[in-house]
């Protein structure tokens, strides 16, 4: 029973990978010129650029929220849908989506009425792909984990499900939705900057934004502007964290099923923030009063929606959507089938050899970064765990640092390292490392902190100290979180590769051998078969590593080292 389920999952996942690759192949367009959209830099532009970035982020986030809720909701409310939708979500989350970005840029630029708009769409789409899957998982999990007594009580008091969406499903998803939104938002910054400093071939594709400002400043050797850009980015991120995410996160606790007494007392939201929002609230009230005087009757009242969304209409819509979806999948399949002969004709052994070599180099880069990251974060996490006072002092800093995307420092690093021999290689490793390390530190420290008090007291009182303590208590207890941290960190690293291995500084292309740079150069030189082959090899490598190495290992570790609650 379980074996056949696994096989079905694997089939669905491999099919969806192939479909995705086919999609890229079909929409692969040539002969599109793209421009940078950045003129000479001045300080005056900085606020404007920052706002452009923020709008990009927000629209991508809202899009993700909308998509994710529907996807998660649909997957959680039917066993049949769950069997298909969950493996697909798993794939979308684990493959390095940045690899598809060059193709996405070409696609969006070719369909949009205006090139800049197309580039905007592509950037928003990219950020969307970095945020949506994670949030969709949270929606799925929270809906399928509503306690049985709550569901039963709900069904009893509302047998027709009139208010089910607003009274049960949406509130139930809020705590995890908010938590994962914060993660996704942080992730989104990385992709925002990545999309802005991205380069395809020698043509730089740069939209006005804070990321491109930093990159451009670096390539024009305006160091003070570059630092200013990084500073503004940091300020924006920290401001949003304190003034928006912290209050929302605090509010979301109301929706949890239980709160342990000590937890509720932690004061997360600063007084300044509360005063700020109270002031805004007063202002809004004033404006609302003003609007109420005009007496606008809401067109989209609830009754209207309800009447519209009657059974029959919703049935028609549902069927229509299904038909469109199936039609689209068929379209992709037919086109892939048509393209297969030409793909096979174009395939060259040399493409595979080049891709494999590049994959090996990229893999080594990730491995080196991981070894460096682990060798400092693990001891640090243990130190912080042993010295709570130091941790209290440091933890606000290590909470904010990871939210500033490592990729923003890329131009800075490039500026200083490029003059050296192997400078680009070092820069790439540093970018990958800086994306990994905070996350690892965070999860390992979290795992250590979750060690139950009684186990610590027991080892203490039996005189288990030093290496023995490390071997018998700390390492085993941290192992599950080390694994989680590793999987996510390495996943992020594959994405970072695509940006870190190839870029343009001024009009000069800088690159190192690697799968990320191959993806870029092949599409720029219109070498379609190399692009597809390298993308295929990267996705296949990441997928099989996840599926055949990490997951089984993770399951085994979790099985043995999990703390029973």
């Amino acid at each position: 029973m379980k074996g056949s389920n696994k096989l079905i999952n694997l089939t669905i996942q491999i099919t969806s990978i192939l479909l995705l690759l086919g999609l890229v192949y079909i929409f692969y367009k040539r002969q599109i010129t793209i421009h940078g959209y950045i003129s000479t830099l001045t300080i005056k532009q900085l606020p404007f650029y920052a706002i452009r970035s923020l709008i990009r982020m927000t629209s991508a986030y809202l899009l993700s929220l909308f998509f994710s809720f529907i996807y998660g909701f649909l997957a959680a409310t039917s066993k049949k849908r769950e069997a298909i939708m969950l493996p697909i979500l798993d794939i979308l989350q684990s493959i390095p989506i940045l690899g598809f970005f060059p193709a996405a840029v070409y696609f969006f630029v070719s369909i949009a009425p205006n090139k800049m708009l197309g580039a905007e769409f592509a950037a928003i789409f990219l950020i969307f792909t970095s945020q949506a899957w994670n949030i969709a998982f949270s929606v799925y999990e929270s809906i399928s984990m509503i306690p049985q007594d709550v569901t039963e009580a709900y069904n009893l008091f509302d047998p027709d499900g009139n208010l089910k969406l607003f009274r049960l499903y949406i509130p139930a998803t809020i705590p995890k939705l908010v938590y994962n939104s914060i993660l996704s938002w942080t992730n989104g910054w990385f992709f925002l900057v990545a999309s802005e400093i991205f380069a395809i071939g020698t043509e730089s594709f740069r939209l006005p934004g804070i990321g491109s400002f930093i990159m451009e400043a670096a390539s024009q050797s305006k160091i003070s502007l570059m630092f200013l850009g990084v500073l503004v980015l940091a300020i924006v991120i920290i401001f949003l964290d304190l003034f928006i995410w912290k209050p929302i996160s605090h509010w979301s606790r109301r929706f949890t099923y239980s709160v342990s007494p000590g937890e509720e007392e932690t004061k997360e939201v600063w007084d300044v923030v509360i005063i700020f929002w109270e002031a805004i609230g007063k202002l809004l009230k004033f404006i609302l009063k003003f609007i109420q005087k005009i007496r606008l009757k809401p067109v989209l009242s609830f009754k209207f929606i309800k009447r519209f969304w009657q059974r029959r209409i919703s049935n028609i819509v549902r069927k229509a959507l299904l038909v469109i979806l199936i039609g689209f999948v068929l379209f992709v399949i037919v086109n892939i089938a048509k393209a297969i002969p030409s793909i096979i004709l174009k395939l060259k052994l040399s493409d595979f050899l080049i891709s494999f070599k590049a994959l090996l180099y990229s893999f080594l880069r990730i491995l080196i970064s991981y070894i460096i990251a682990f060798s400092w974060t693990f001891p640090t996490a243990i130190f912080l765990f042993r010295h709570p006072r130091a941790a209290r002092f440091i933890s606000p800093i290590i909470q904010i640092l990871p939210s500033i995307p490592a990729i923003a420092f890329f131009p800075l690093i490039l500026y200083f390292l490029l003059p050296f021999k192997n400078g680009m290689n070092m820069a790439a490793i540093i970018v990958i490392l800086s994306g990994m390390q905070w996350y690892l530190l965070f999860t390992i420290y979290g795992g250590l902190k979750a060690i139950p008090e009684d186990l610590q007291e027991f080892t203490e009182s039996f005189g288990v100290k030093g290496m023995l303590r490390l071997k018998r208590l700390l390492l085993p207890a941290a192992l599950p979180s080390i694994m989680t941290g590793t999987i996510t960190a390495v996943g992020g690293a594959w994405n970072a590769l695509v940006v870190a291995e190839y870029t343009t500084l001024g009009n000069k292309a800088v690159s190192v051998t690697g799968i990320g740079s191959i993806l870029n150069t092949s599409i720029a030189s219109n070498n379609q078969s190399l692009f597809i082959v390298s993308l295929f090899i990267m996705v296949a490598a990441v997928f099989s590593m996840n599926h055949f190495v990490y997951r089984p290992l993770y399951d085994k570790i979790l099985d043995r080292y999990r703390m029973e609650s």
């Binding site: 007594d149 009893l156 009139n162 009274r167 809020i174």
Partner: protein, 261 residues
């Protein structure tokens, strides 16, 4: 005429490729004015039976008749009190209590009027705007009871309503339930309660139905006509306790002896 009638209820659940019989051939009829308790060892399917009566679960076979109608979906004349309360954490006390009315489309004013009445009746004054997590277990169950009563059901179903509470709170709440039941202030015609606490069942009910486990079958039906308020120390009370206790025990012992064969 019987208010509630169960005819040949048979219920199975899948368990590791096998079907196990949870309820076997349950026939029961309950009249108006009765407080009936269902007593039995754990795993005898008494909670499942209660959910079948509510219409939350459809039996594998058999029929539930209520007031002359066959029950197909959730029975609108019943209300339910849960062992683990089943309150929605994101709604305050008033919102939790009036959820069922809101779903029916009753307007806010009427909802608040009714909520006020039942908040008063179960002793929740001053907690109208509290959230469930701010309440003690006893208070939570008061919300659970008010939420069930506000629907003005004919039949109140309670699934081990006092089990999750501490001894003192439970005793207190039992007294209040019985006072409400006797007072005639409620629309209730019948209470049907599941418990594994025999003493509680004798203290509260007019009639006790005893079930055995594996499979769940009715093995006894005892009328309790002790005068209220009931004295736990009285001889009659203890005799009834011993009688029912031995019925429950004998059913589990027999099963254990049968199993190895």
């Amino acid at each position: 005429m019987a208010l509630l009638e169960l005819k040949n209820i048979y219920q199975t659940f899948p368990l590791k490729d096998k079907e196990i019989v949870v309820l076997n051939n349950i026939n029961l009829s309950v009249s108006e004015g009765e407080y009936v308790s269902l007593v039995g060892p754990s795993g005898c399917g008494k909670s499942t039976l209660l959910r079948i009566v509510a219409g939350l679960i459809k039996p594998t076979s058999g029929e539930v008749w209520f007031n002359g109608d066959k029950i197909q979906n959730v029975n609108p004349y019943t209300s339910f009190v849960f062992q683990t309360f089943g309150l929605l954490p994101w709604l305050d006390v008033t919102e939790n209590i009036t959820l069922g009315l809101e779903a029916k489309g009753i307007n806010l004013k009427e909802r608040l009027r009714k909520a006020f009445k039942y908040v008063d009746l179960v002793g929740l004054e001053g907690f109208e705007e509290a959230y469930p997590r701010e309440l003690s277990g006893g208070m939570k169950q008061r919300v659970g009871i008010a939420r069930a009563l506000v629907m003005e059901p004919t039949l109140l179903l309670m699934d081990e309503p006092f089990t999750a509470l501490d001894v003192f709170t439970a005793e207190n709440l039992r007294g209040e339930i019985i006072k409400l039941w006797i007072s005639g202030k409620l629309s209730l015609k019948c209470i049907f309660m599941v418990t594994h606490n025999i003493e509680e069942a004798i203290f509260l009910s007019d009639r006790i139905v005893i079930m055995s486990a594996h499979p769940g079958e009715i093995i006894g039906d005892v009328k309790i006509d002790l005068p209220r308020p009931r004295d736990r120390e009285s001889e009659d009370f203890n005799k009834l306790y011993d009688k029912i206790y031995s019925m429950v025990i004998s059913s589990t012992v027999i099963n254990k002896e049968v199993k190895p064969v």
